[in-house]
C-alpha cells in the first residue's frame, strides 16, 4: 500500500505540472524575453503621457504612437505591456530603481541623458513646414518659400531660419520671403489658418499633432529638415539582455511593416524612420 501511495503521489504531481504548464497562456514568442523583468510576464515601461502624438490621454485612455509600438514589441516577446503613467521627473528614477524595464516616452536622445541611460533609437524627428490643407502653393521644401509669406515666433530659432532662407532666395535671384513675426506659436498657427501667411515652422511631432487635430486646415509641406533629434527607448546602462530583446522586437515590427503602419496611423512623415 505504501509504494502505491508514493507512485500515485508522483504521478499526480507530474500531472499537475503538465496541466499547469499547458494552462499558462503560451504566446507565440518570436523574440526571447529577457530573464529578469520588473513584473514577470510583463514588459513594464515608464511613460509620461503629456507628449502627443507619442503618448497622451484621450478620453481617459492612454494613446499614442509609443503606446501602440511598445504593445506590438511586447507581443513579439510574449509579454503583456504594463504602462506606468507618471510625472516626467519620475521616469529615470523608476528605470534606475528597477521598477520599470524601459522608458518608452518619446525621449529625445541627448548627450546628458546618454551618459545616464542606454538608448535604442527608433525615430528621427526634425522640423517641418506646415501649410494650408491641400498645399495650394505646392511647398515641397524650404526653397519653395521664395516670394511666400512665412509666420514665425519672434526671437526664436525659427526667425533666424526664415531670414536665412530669405537671404538664400535673394542670392539665387528669386523673390525674398516675407517673414511675419508673432509672440507665440499659437498666433503663427492662427495666421496660417486665416490665410494671411502661406507657411509656418513646427517640430515634427508638433506638426503631426497640428495636422491630426485639424486635417481640413493644415497639411505638412515637404520633407523634414534639420536640426534633427533621435527619439529612443531608454534602458538601464549596461542592461544588454534587455537591449537585445527590445532591439529584436523593434526589428521584428520594422521588418513586417507594422512600424510603417503605425507611422501612417499617427500621421508621421515616412522619413521619420530613417535614422541617418
Amino acid at each position: 500500500m505504501k509504494i502505491d501511495l508514493k507512485k500515485s503521489l508522483y504521478s499526480a504531481f507530474a500531472c499537475a505540472l503538465i496541466i499547469g504548464a499547458s494552462a499558462s497562456p503560451s504566446k507565440a514568442a518570436e523574440v526571447m524575453a529577457p530573464s529578469s523583468l520588473a513584473n514577470s510576464g510583463q514588459l513594464t515601461y515608464a511613460v509620461a503621457a503629456t507628449f502627443a502624438p507619442f503618448e497622451y490621454m484621450e478620453n481617459g485612455k492612454l494613446t499614442g504612437f509609443d503606446i501602440d509600438m511598445i504593445t506590438e514589441i511586447s507581443k513579439r516577446m510574449g509579454l503583456d505591456p504594463n504602462p506606468m503613467n507618471m510625472e516626467f521627473k519620475g521616469l529615470i528614477p523608476s528605470l534606475q530603481g528597477k521598477r520599470a524595464d524601459i522608458i518608452n516616452s518619446g525621449m529625445y536622445i541627448k548627450p546628458e541623458r546618454a551618459a545616464v541611460v542606454d538608448f535604442i533609437p527608433y525615430m528621427r524627428v526634425g522640423n517641418q513646414l506646415v501649410v494650408a490643407a491641400g498645399n495650394p502653393k505646392n511647398v515641397q521644401g524650404q526653397d519653395d518659400l521664395c516670394g511666400l509669406k512665412i509666420a514665425v515666433t519672434l526671437g526664436g530659432f525659427q526667425e533666424g531660419l526664415a531670414k536665412e532662407q530669405g537671404a538664400k532666395c535673394v542670392a539665387a535671384g528669386k523673390k525674398e520671403t516675407e517673414v511675419l513675426t508673432y509672440p507665440s506659436a499659437q498666433d503663427a498657427a492662427l495666421v496660417l489658418q486665416q490665410g494671411r501667411a502661406d507657411a509656418i515652422f513646427n517640430s515634427t511631432p508638433g506638426a503631426v499633432k497640428q495636422v491630426t487635430a485639424l486635417p481640413d486646415v493644415y497639411a505638412i509641406g515637404g520633407k523634414s529638415f534639420g536640426p534633427y533629434f533621435l527619439v529612443g527607448i531608454a534602458l538601464r546602462k549596461g542592461d544588454t539582455e534587455m537591449k537585445k530583446a527590445v532591439e529584436a522586437g523593434l526589428k521584428s515590427i520594422q521588418a513586417d511593416g507594422t512600424f510603417d503602419a503605425l507611422l501612417k496611423k499617427y500621421n508621421f512623415p515616412k522619413e521619420a524612420k530613417n535614422l541617418n
Binding site: 507628449f51 497622451y56 484621450e58 510625472e87 523608476s94 530603481g97
Partner: protein, 240 residues
C-alpha cells in the same frame, strides 16, 4: 466647446473623478498614518531617554531637511535594493506619512507643552498616577491646541499629494495636466481640478470646526455661556 461646458465635462468625467478619489484617499490615509507616527515620536520625546532622543533628532532632521519629492522617489526607487518593494500607492503613502509625522510630532509637542505645569501638579496632588494624569488632564487640554494645526495639515496634504504622480500614482493633478496637454485647454482642466480641491478643502474645514467645537466642551459650554450672559444681564451674578 466653450470653456464652461468643457470644465463641467471634465469635472464629471470618469478620469477626473477617479483622480479626485485617489487624491482624497492619499490625503486621508497619509495624514492618518502621519498622526500615528507623530504620536510615537511625541511619546518618545516625552520619555526623556537619551537613545530615543537621538533617534528622534535624526528622524526629524532627515524628514524635515529633505524635499518630500526626494523622499517619495527614494522610497519607491531606492528601497527595493534593500529588499523593500512597495507599490506606487504604498510608496507614496509611506513617504508622505513619514514626512507628515515629523511635523505632527512638533505640533503634538507644542500641544503638550501648552498645558501648564500647574495642571500636572494639581493632578499629582490628587494622588493621580502618570497615565491617569495624561489621559484625564493633559491630553484633553492638549487636544484643544493640537486639533486646529492638524486640520491644517489635512488641507496641506491635499495639495502635497500631487507629488506622488512622480511614482505613477494617477492623482488629480496628473490627470488634469495630461488631459490638458493633449488639447491645450489648460484653463478648463485645471479649473476642474481646482473645483475638486476646493470642495475637499471646504469639507475638511467644516469637519474641523465641528471637532474644535466638541474639543472646547461642545454644547455644554455653549449652553453655560448663554446662561451666564443672561445672568450677567439680569445682574444675578458678578462680572469677572
Amino acid at each position: 466647446m466653450d470653456a464652461l461646458t468643457l470644465t463641467i465635462d471634465y469635472i464629471f468625467s470618469e478620469t477626473f473623478f477617479h483622480g479626485a478619489q485617489m487624491t482624497l484617499l492619499l490625503t486621508i490615509v497619509s495624514v492618518f498614518f502621519g498622526i500615528m507616527v507623530g504620536l510615537i515620536i511625541a511619546i518618545m520625546q516625552e520619555m526623556d531617554n537619551k537613545y530615543l532622543n537621538y533617534v528622534v533628532v535624526v528622524y526629524l532632521w532627515f524628514f524635515r531637511g529633505t524635499p518630500v519629492l526626494f523622499q517619495i522617489i527614494f522610497v519607491y526607487n531606492v528601497l527595493p535594493s534593500f529588499g523593500i518593494n512597495l507599490s506606487s500607492f504604498a510608496s507614496g503613502v509611506v513617504a508622505l506619512a513619514l514626512n507628515e509625522g515629523a511635523y505632527i510630532a512638533e505640533i503634538m509637542r507644542a500641544g503638550l507643552q501648552s498645558v501648564g505645569k500647574g495642571q500636572r501638579m494639581a493632578a499629582t496632588a490628587l494622588a493621580m498616577k502618570e497615565w491617569q494624569i495624561m489621559r484625564y488632564v493633559i491630553v484633553p487640554q492638549a487636544l484643544r491646541v493640537i486639533i486646529p494645526p492638524i486640520g491644517n495639515q489635512f488641507i496641506g496634504m491635499l495639495k502635497l499629494s500631487a507629488l506622488v504622480s512622480v511614482v505613477a500614482v494617477e492623482e488629480l493633478l496628473l490627470v488634469a495636466n495630461q488631459a490638458a496637454s493633449s488639447n491645450f485647454r489648460y484653463l478648463e482642466a485645471l479649473m476642474a481640478a481646482g473645483v475638486y480641491y476646493l470642495f475637499f478643502t471646504t469639507v475638511f474645514m467644516y469637519i474641523q470646526s465641528h471637532i474644535e467645537f466638541w474639543a472646547k466642551g461642545g454644547r455644554r459650554r455653549a449652553l453655560r455661556d448663554k446662561e451666564l450672559k443672561v445672568d450677567i444681564a439680569l445682574e444675578r451674578t458678578e462680572v469677572r
